[in-house]
């Protein structure tokens, strides 16, 4: 029985003609004597033929603005000590009309970043990014109360509350905190996470802030809570 099991692992390579002639003959000899494996092979062949017709999808050609902002914000010094010549790579992309609109958006993001941020990241250190509000269109984030996050279907949200339980995980490069509607521990809350390489100061305990980020639901058995992860911007409303 276990021998059948091991031989059956060769059925897909056999169907694809990838077995050595000797191995293929061994499979065929076995098939002649084993109606059960013949049945398995027939079903495998049908599944294999259908799977071969699976289509590939294309991803959205333009990355999300926040991703673009993170990538373009990091311009670490190269090994020779000079900044990488970004314009050299982007010059070719300018030549196509399709790239023009993406490039225009990118330039806007970079200009915003140049205004609000002018620091690089030293080579050899852990790459990190200061993602500022200027790099994002905060108007795109749906304003919701913590309670309303349950019925939200939009990916990008902004929500307000009091900060509790700020926890830093240096190994993962993350800062997580609870954002609660009030000081009452039983009040509805949402878990917020700042993830590396996005770097922003952790909010102060008990401060009242507005958090911008991606809405998620964590369905692990010990959790089952709503999250804003990753956090893309924090506005302090009351200290």
């Amino acid at each position: 029985m276990s021998w059948h099991f091991l031989l059956r692992r060769k059925f897909v390579p056999y169907l694809e003609g990838e077995l050595q002639p000797r191995e293929a003959k061994r499979v065929e000899r076995h098939l002649l004597d084993c109606p059960w494996c013949r049945g398995v092979l027939v079903r495998l062949r049908a599944g294999h033929q259908m799977a071969q017709r699976l289509q590939a999808f294309d991803a959205d050609e333009h990355p999300r603005p926040e991703f673009e902002a993170v990538i373009t914000a990091v311009q670490p010094l190269s090994r020779t000590g000079r900044r990488a010549p970004l314009w050299e790579d982007w010059f070719d992309r300018l030549a196509t009309p399709r790239a023009a609109s993406a490039l225009a958006a990118l330039v806007l993001v970079q200009l915003a970043l140049l205004v609000v941020s002018n620091r690089g990241v030293l080579f050899g250190k852990h790459s990190s990014v200061s993602l500022k509000a200027g790099a994002l269109d905060l108007g795109d984030f749906r304003q919701l109360s913590i309670r309303e996050l349950k019925s939200n279907t939009r990916p990008h949200v902004a929500t307000e509350g009091y900060v509790y339980d700020v926890r830093t995980d240096p190994e993962e490069g993350t800062v997580a905190f609870k954002l609660a509607e009030s000081a009452d521990p039983s009040a509805p809350f949402v878990v917020c996470e700042i993830m590396s390489p996005i770097e922003m100061p952790a909010p102060q305990e008990r401060s009242y802030v507005r958090v911008y980020g991606v809405a998620r639901y964590d369905a692990q058995t010990d959790r089952k809570w709503y999250e804003v992860n990753p956090v893309l911007n924090i506005a302090v409303l009351k200290r």
Binding site: R53, L54, R216
Partner: protein, 200 residues
């Protein structure tokens, strides 16, 4: 002629891997443009794994960006002794697994992916084209309804064209386990698609 084609393919493979190596080194040295080229080269391949694993195009796009943020963050630690594609697939696999663990499947909008292109595509299609697309959707839907581990192995093999060894490195299990999992997936796929056999 066949040998010539094989040689050309081999040469292209060498050239591509040398180019990829140069891009990785440049990206590790801080060249954001080089990283963008790596992103462009792998974007669609990783998206397929993520989309088939997650089922929802919008969340898939989100996970795709998270995968590349992690690639970006960890690229300095990548050693060129191993294959870049396997390394990126592995990060994507971990991210999908993590996403799968965290999310309930109840609200996975499978229909969103199956309906989206129709909603966007306003050009009239021939009956033949329409029938072909319908057949493809039936198979896609059946694959997306497979258990997570089976779905992954089917996509890595049939959409991404990975070998058993490559799949075993991405999934972190023995090639024999990959083969058994693939067998189970194909048998289950056949069972799910049996009622549609005449249509397909």
């Amino acid at each position: 002629m066949a040998i010539e084609r094989l040689e050309q393919t081999k040469f292209r493979g060498v050239r591509d891997s040398a180019r990829e190596r140069a891009l990785v080194l440049a990206a590790q040295g801080g060249d954001v443009g080089a990283f963008r080229q790596l992103y462009d080269a792998y974007r669609d391949r990783i998206y397929n794994l993520v989309l088939y694993s997650i089922g929802d195009p919008f969340n898939a796009q989100d996970v795709l960006q998270t995968v590349f943020l992690k690639v970006f963050r960890s690229l300095r630690s990548f050693r060129l002794q191993s294959s870049l594609s396997t390394w990126i697939y592995r990060i994507a696999h971990n991210e999908c697994q993590d996403h799968h663990r965290r999310r309930t499947m109840a609200h996975m909008p499978l229909e969103a992916i199956l309906g989206s292109s129709d909603e966007i595509d306003t050009k009239p299609r021939s009956d033949h084209q329409h029938a072909r697309q319908e057949r493809e959707r039936i198979i896609q839907r059946a694959v997306m309804q497979l258990p997570f581990k089976m779905r992954e192995v089917v996509v890595l093999k049939y959409v991404e064209g990975l070998s058993y060894d490559e799949m075993s490195r991405v999934l972190g299990c023995a090639p024999g386990t990959v083969a058994s999992r693939l067998n189970r997936a194909l048998v289950e796929l056949e069972e799910r698609l049996r009622p549609f056999r005449r249509l397909l």
